[in-house]
């Protein structure tokens, strides 16, 4: 079935199709249509789930931790301030090894108040053990949300997973979305996962642990995050076999084969980057574009191979890089270093706070990147 959906509605449909048991969320612009649509699905009976209409985002994640610990499949969504308010328990969910799935509509962090797209909130989830994915269109939101459940609930992973997408450009823009018939075939059967907590076999989750024991829990997470790379590929493979849409490598490369200059981007900005690549190629510029879907775990060695032999790598970070290179650029730098690549690395903070980035911006960045030194720059439209 094909429907005209916004990115937010695509998320709601994917969640409906994943059949969670408990949803809990607190409204924040621009996430609200997701939870409103989910409330409608529950009301109409299309989705059989409990909706805990909590009084804050911190409570939303806490409610899902409570639910998931006894075996429920769960979902929440938030943005920016809401994510930061929830942040403490975002870490808790990962440390408790609960396969919670969250949608993040990326929005700038205040002050000043700003409701438009910026990836600052997304990057805060970089290090806490969540599997994180970035969608660039409504179709990708739908697809990656289903894949997120497959990865999170896999016995070799058991980590929470997040799918992010841009405020307004994706969240509120209508596009045709192909739904998956009987998505249940894709996801692990509900109840396949034994709950952490059951009265029949009592245990405590989250006791005080001395350093050695704590370190072991973290090592287990390190190993699970590492395995998530192949689990993602496997889940995406099953998805491709079912739908023809291929996310298996965790990234997409456009006209990369002979590119000397490679753009790297996440999210909807990639659309403009592709247009710029086509325009530049028409002028004979040897340029290509890499779009990252799977951000954590980051596929360093794969990306290192892609970066081999390039002269310049231009990373577009949709957030201000304060006092350091932005996180995506730092990961690209690590991949370059690991692979022994010698490309000049240039980062542009572009689209910060929802500022529009067009193909002509990207073409100008191409010129600027060729001219200047490597490093991190705040993009100003000329």
């Amino acid at each position: 079935m094909r429907l005209l959906l916004t990115g937010n509605y695509a998320a709601a449909y994917a969640v409906r199709d994943a059949q969670p048991d408990v949803i809990s969320a607190y409204p924040i612009t621009p996430q609200t249509p997701i939870i409103e649509k989910l409330a409608e699905f529950i009301d109409s009976g299309e989705l059989k789930a409990k909706f805990v209409r909590v009084e804050s985002e911190h409570s939303a994640m806490a409610a899902l931790i409570g639910a998931a610990s006894v075996g429920a499949r769960t979902y929440t969504a938030t943005s920016s301030q809401g994510l930061l308010y929830m942040y403490e328990v975002v870490w808790w969910a990962a440390g408790a090894r609960l396969p919670i799935v969250m949608g993040l509509v990326t929005r700038a962090v205040g002050p000043p108040w700003n409701i438009w797209s910026d990836h600052a909130d997304f990057y805060t989830v970089r290090d806490c053990g969540w599997v994180t994915l970035f969608a660039g269109s409504a179709q990708e939101v739908y697809d990656l949300t289903l894949i997120a459940y497959c990865v999170a609930e896999h016995k070799d992973v058991l980590l929470p997973a997040l799918v992010a997408w841009d405020a307004f450009e994706v969240s509120h823009t209508y596009e045709p979305v192909e739904l998956v018939e009987d998505a249940a075939r894709l996801l692990p059967p509900k109840g396949a996962r034994a709950p952490h907590l059951a009265a029949e076999d009592p245990a405590s989750l989250g006791n005080l642990a001395y350093p050695e024991e704590y370190a072991e829990t973290r090592l287990l997470m390190v190993e699970a995050a590492r395995r998530a790379l192949s689990v993602f590929a496997e889940a995406a493979g099953k998805f491709r076999d079912l739908t023809g849409r291929d996310y298996t490598r965790g990234y997409e490369c456009y006209r990369c084969e002979d590119a000397e200059v490679l753009f790297v981007a996440m999210g909807s900005i990639y659309g403009e980057v592709r247009s710029a690549v086509d325009a530049l190629r028409a002028r004979g510029a040897p340029v290509g574009a890499l779009k990252v879907w799977l951000y954590r775990p980051f596929p360093y060695w794969e990306v290192a191979k892609i970066l081999e032999g390039r002269k310049v790598v231009v990373v577009l970070s949709r957030t201000a890089s304060l006092g350091a290179m932005g996180p995506l650029a730092a990961d690209i730098a690590a991949a370059l270093a690991l692979g022994g690549g010698s490309a000049k690395l240039v980062e542009f903070s572009a689209g910060v706070g929802g500022v529009d980035v067009t193909a002509s911006d990207v073409m100008a960045m191409y010129e600027a990147a060729l001219e200047g030194r490597g490093g991190t720059y705040f993009w100003h439209r000329r």
Partner: protein, 86 residues
Amino acid sequence: MSGSAAVERILARPTLGAVFSGGWRAERPVVDTSKCRLCGVCWLYCPDAAVEITEAGVVIDYNYCKGCGICARECPFKAVTMVSER
């Protein structure tokens, strides 16, 4: 380590005697069986469940009794005295 094995490593299981709390005491309760009426008050109020009432009488698990003295204080028959460990 995957799946239920990984989860098992992060769960703590019910353990009698998680810690040798008997080593904390400065005094230990001693029951005078001639006065004890097996009323069970000491069992009821022990914070550590270190008191058991058996057919043979009150049995205190000195591995875990912390010597708080509540049993001695609350015994209606003054059958329990706190005696220094030294």
